[in-house]
């Protein structure tokens, strides 16, 4: 039987078409059809100055909007050969980690919704709200913050706000273990997540899985290790696990949150005084920069003529993760509801993933990147 899901469906939070071929309760193949949120952002960016394009970069994805502007700005900083001042770099880390916490909490809450565990779903959302407050305190907005500019950040943070963020973090940390324990020890959640949707390390490499999805399968890869601010000034270690199932992916996200809290504390304690913005002379050239988003690796490749953007290409993590989900993880699930839970554990973000249209010469036949079969 073929079971079509979507584009609008109670089990999906973003528009996407899933065609599951089933035999009884077992899923034997899945086809994913994209293209519902393709806006053509790269095309619009061409011929614009960075001041205009950075707003478009922010709106590639609403959940991890922050990292897109940071990567965009750092690409331009690389082209011009100048770095942001140290205080701005610290503030970037602060915002990035706050954003990561809220994104991970949202991702796990979606998984709990998919396995119908309403209690943990609500707890996760309740934990997330104070973090959103912290983001709002710092940047003035909850989702699209407009916090980065080429050469630094838009404005300075006040000490009193940093102190308030510190308090929010201490409160979050105090209650946090209880929820992790609920997930780690809960027998019923265990049944729905342990040994479901397994992906081996080899498959993760073949599927190019990144972020917590790759790290859950034993790939020790986190770009924050190589980032100059983290490497030179902060104490950071990659968190990874071996199991490669739904449980490992969620636990990996759970474990990364205390680490983000510790990074935020380090930033607030050690933040240096000084400017938050350098004046940057942008020359002609091509630059490429990669950063670790909550879901994995984001790459920006930009070619500029000094003023306008000639060409830009954005690579987001979701496309690789959804790909490895369809190819490898869904082979290991027994029922349709497990398939949906596995799909949710990958933390797919469709708005990120819609990057390419493939069209023939006359432009008649269009199809969108990432239509594939699992067998």
């Amino acid at each position: 039987m073929i079971l079509p899901l979507g584009p609008i469906h109670p089990g999906l939070k973003e528009p996407l078409r899933l065609k599951l071929k089933t035999q009884g309760e077992k899923v034997i193949s899945a086809e994913i059809d994209y293209g519902y949120v393709h806006r053509g952002i790269e095309r619009i960016m061409e011929g614009k100055t960075w001041q205009k394009a950075i707003y478009l970069a922010e709106r590639v994805c609403g959940i991890c909007s922050y990292i897109h502007t940071q990567t965009f700005a750092e690409t331009f900083e690389k082209i011009s050969g100048e770095q942001a001042p140290l205080r701005a770099q610290y503030l970037r880390v602060l915002t990035n980690e706050l954003d990561r916490i809220q994104s991970h909490l949202l991702a796990n809450s979606t998984f709990f919704k998919a396995i119908e565990h309403e209690t943990l779903f609500m707890y996760m959302l309740a934990l997330r709200e104070p973090v959103m407050d912290a983001i709002e305190l710092l940047t003035g907005n909850r989702v699209n913050m407009g916090w980065n500019v080429v050469g630094g950040v838009r404005m300075d943070a006040k000490d009193i706000h940093l102190q308030q963020i510190m308090e929010i973090m201490i409160k979050l940390e105090a209650g946090y273990d209880r929820y992790v324990e609920m997930y780690e020890q809960g027998p019923l959640v265990g049944l729905r997540s342990k040994k479901v949707g397994r992906m081996s390390k080899e498959d993760a490499i073949k599927g190019r899985a990144v972020g917590p999805i790759g790290r859950g399968s034993g790939l020790k890869h986190d770009l924050r290790e190589d980032h100059h601010t983290y490497r030179d000034h902060l104490d950071f270690k990659v968190i990874w696990r071996k199991e490669g199932d739904n449980f490992a992916r969620n636990m990996n996200r759970f474990d990364e949150i205390p680490q983000s809290i510790s990074l935020i504390k380090q930033v607030i304690e050690n933040i240096p005084k000084g400017d938050t913005r350098n004046k940057v002379e942008i020359g002609k050239g091509y630059g490429e920069w990669r950063n670790e988003a909550p879901r994995g690796e984001v790459t920006y490749m930009i070619e500029t003529n000094g003023n306008l953007i000639n060409n830009v290409s954005i690579r987001t993590p979701s496309i690789m993760n959804i790909d490895s989900c369809a190819r490898y993880m869904l082979n290991d699930v027994a029922t349709v509801s497990d398939a949906i839970a596995t799909y949710a554990s990958v933390d797919p973000c469709i708005a990120c993933a819609e990057r390419v249209i493939v069209a023939n010469e006359k432009g008649e036949e269009k199809h969108y990147q990432g239509i594939f079969d699992i067998k």
């Binding site: 584009p7 609008i8 469906h9 109670p10 999906l12 939070k13 973003e14 528009p15 293209g35 519902y36 949120v37 393709h38 806006r39 053509g40 952002i41 095309r43 619009i44 061409e46 707003y55 478009l56 922010e58 709106r59 590639v60 994805c61 609403g62 959940i63 909007s65 949202l106 809450s109 609500m122 959302l125 309740a126 997330r128 709200e129 959103m132 909850r142 989702v143 699209n144 973000c349 469709i350 708005a351 249209i357 269009k366």
Partner: protein, 149 residues
Amino acid sequence: MLDALKDIVRKSSIHVCLVNSGGCNGCDIEVVALLSPRYDLEQYGIYVHNNPREADVILVTGAVTEQWKENLRRIYTKAPEPKVVVALGNCPISGDVFNQEGSSVNAPVSDFIPVDAELSGCPPRPSEILEAILAVAPGAIAAKGRQKK
């Protein structure tokens, strides 16, 4: 008598279907934030389930991409009468930053389906979304229900 009864019932159980027609996701996660205990959407009798066949209110976010041009209409007709469409965020109202030369968006949404209320913001705050749904939905649903007869 029957109308009055229907009004009461409709006021206290509003089913919402969220349709992302091609935005950045920001508006959608603000709707998810509404489910959280802080805002607790369900205490107002609002239930978000993403099923167009049972919806009273269709929340449209996003700027109508190519693939959505026909599907939007189809989803709209699937929802039973009386129904209310709320356009959420700048995207469905004007296309926001995406509505520029070379893009593949076809905003506004009102070109494709009738829109009853619009709420601007990129994204609007959760409390504003809640206020908008509550301000427009019960009255409009009741009025439309009577009109039909």
